[in-house]
């Protein structure tokens, strides 16, 4: 019986990194847009830009997911 440890490890690593990364990014986006009422000025704009950038990366990940499914 051959267990494909390499594929197994890859699945484990990729799943872990991508899940944690995406959830983290998306949370940054939510928090960045959510706290705008408290923060004003430069940090507000920065938070906005950061939040939209996080969302854009998440959207790219979803698009890549669809591409993988379709490929």
């Amino acid at each position: 019986m051959d267990i494909d440890w390499a594929a197994l490890g890859q699945v484990f690593g990729v799943s872990l990194v991508m899940t944690v990364g995406l959830v983290g990014l998306f949370t940054l986006g939510i928090v960045g847009l959510g706290t705008n009422s408290k923060a004003r000025g430069g940090s507000f704009a920065l938070a906005r830009v950061g939040a939209y950038a996080s969302y854009a990366l998440c959207a790219a990940a979803v698009a890549y997911g669809i591409y993988i499914i379709a490929a």
């Binding site: 494909d4 799943s15 899940t19 944690v20 998306f26 959510g34 706290t35 997911g65």
Partner: protein, 411 residues
């Protein structure tokens, strides 16, 4: 010759029924957490999942990989009657686990059914045991672990990042994210599981000589498989949705998002990297993981234990039902007829049993399943799983005298 054609017709119909139960059984994977956190209304959720399942069945241009490839040696004389018996085993096991509200892998039920039927009809030599280990047992251990650990860490991280914001304020964002990841799971499910049915139908057509070997599935096969799985999904296996959405742990929007993302990522990574994992086991694992990740979150291990017991039973139970059916079905037309009638009777019996305590879109989130925490996991599993299976399996096995009962009640 018309004999063979009729039999193949029966196989195709049975395959589509299986496909329907597959959609029905697996709605929970994509939508259970979405429904329980209120991200989508129950009916909206299943409708969205159904549409994406249908789309998923069409978007992949990859040849529908026959599920039996590698597991069963196709040259060893697999007849349509054997495929039919395998499907009967898979359908009945899917319905029994649905009745018990347990998420079990539809793919494993199908594999178990085809394996059991092949062993009964052709012999153990036609089955590759090491392929069974590689494709079923190892992934079954790995899937919940990988998805669960990822979901747990993601839940911890998201609570840490958002610890200074109010939970209600960010919940809307989490729900939106959850819908996106649930959509991906549905799409992937349509692609994977509808293709399995297409593979089985194509295998039946090839084995009956209707299609040449190595033929691609015809368009009507793709369309009917996609529609069957979408209808099943839309009908919704509410019992299983309740177990996954409410029974394993209490899911808040942040957790639902983490769990759903972990499921989507793990499913895509595993199918892309060639280490296929069961969608059901991935999703169950990530739900448990998100339960462990929140401070104060509780995983109901008795429910989890029953679920894992059902996973362990899936292959042998579906296999045994299928083996009994195969012994009958290969006897000829009367055998196939008997199996078909008994199968239909069993389906009707399970449906009537489910009406005694209906679960649908109106009450899916209402009730917490009552758990007797003091009963041991194995006892609980046996209580949950064995009464329906033994009753219905005895019915299914009556004519063939296969001792299914002993195997089922001893996990």
């Amino acid at each position: 010759m018309e004999n063979i054609t009729l039999l193949i017709g029966i196989v195709i119909v049975t395959a589509l029924v299986f496909d329907f139960t597959n959609g029905f059984h697996d709605t929970a994977n994509a939508m259970a957490t979405t429904i329980s956190t209120g991200a989508l209304k129950p009916k909206t959720a299943v409708a969205m999942s159904a549409v994406l399942n249908l789309v998923g069945a069409f978007i992949s241009v990859e040849v529908a990989a026959t599920i039996s490839k590698g597991l069963i040696n196709e040259d060893s004389g697999i007849e349509p009657a054997v495929i039919f018996a395998g499907l009967v085993g898979a359908i009945l096991w899917n319905l029994l686990t649905w009745l018990a509200g347990l998420p079990s892998s539809s793919s494993h039920a199908l594999m178990g059914g085809l394996l059991g039927a092949t062993i009964a009809a052709v012999g153990i030599g036609a089955v590759s045991i090491s392929a069974v280990f590689m494709k079923v047992l190892i992934p079954a251990l790995v899937a919940p672990l990988v998805a669960g650990i990822a979901a747990m860490l993601a839940t911890r991280l998201t609570y840490r990042i958002s610890r200074n914001t109010e939970e209600g304020q960010v919940a809307k964002g989490y729900r939106a994210g959850q819908i996106a990841s649930a959509g991906l799971v549905s799409l992937a499910h349509g692609t994977n599981d509808a293709q399995k049915t297409m593979g089985v139908i194509t295998l039946a057509l090839i084995s009956g000589g209707v299609l040449g070997a190595d033929a691609d599935p015809p368009l009507w096969v793709i369309a009917s498989a996609g529609i069957a799985i979408a209808l099943g999904t839309y009908l919704g296996g509410w019992r299983i949705i309740r177990t996954m959405g409410k029974g394993l742990t209490d899911i808040r929007p942040a957790q639902g998002f983490a769990a759903q993302t972990s499921s989507a990522v793990t499913i895509l990574a595993s199918s892309h990297l060639g280490f296929a994992l069961s969608t059901t086991q991935v999703c169950s694992g990530s739900i448990m993981g998100c339960g462990l990740g929140r401070k104060g979150g509780v995983v109901r291990w008795s429910t989890a234990g029953r679920m894992v017991a059902a996973w362990g039973l899936t292959l042998p139970a579906a296999g045994l039902i299928a083996a009994g059916s195969a012994l009958l079905a290969v006897q000829g037309d009367w055998g196939v007829t008997v199996v078909a009638v008994v199968c239909a009777a069993a389906i009707a019996a399970i449906w009537f049993a489910s009406r005694r305590e209906p679960v649908d879109h109106t009450n899916v989130n209402d009730v917490e399943p009552a758990e007797a925490e003091d009963t041991g996991v194995v006892t609980a599993a046996m209580q949950a799983v064995s009464p329906p299976p033994t009753a219905a399996m005895e019915e299914a096995e009556k004519a063939s005298d296969t001792p299914a009962k002993t195997t089922v009640s001893a996990p």
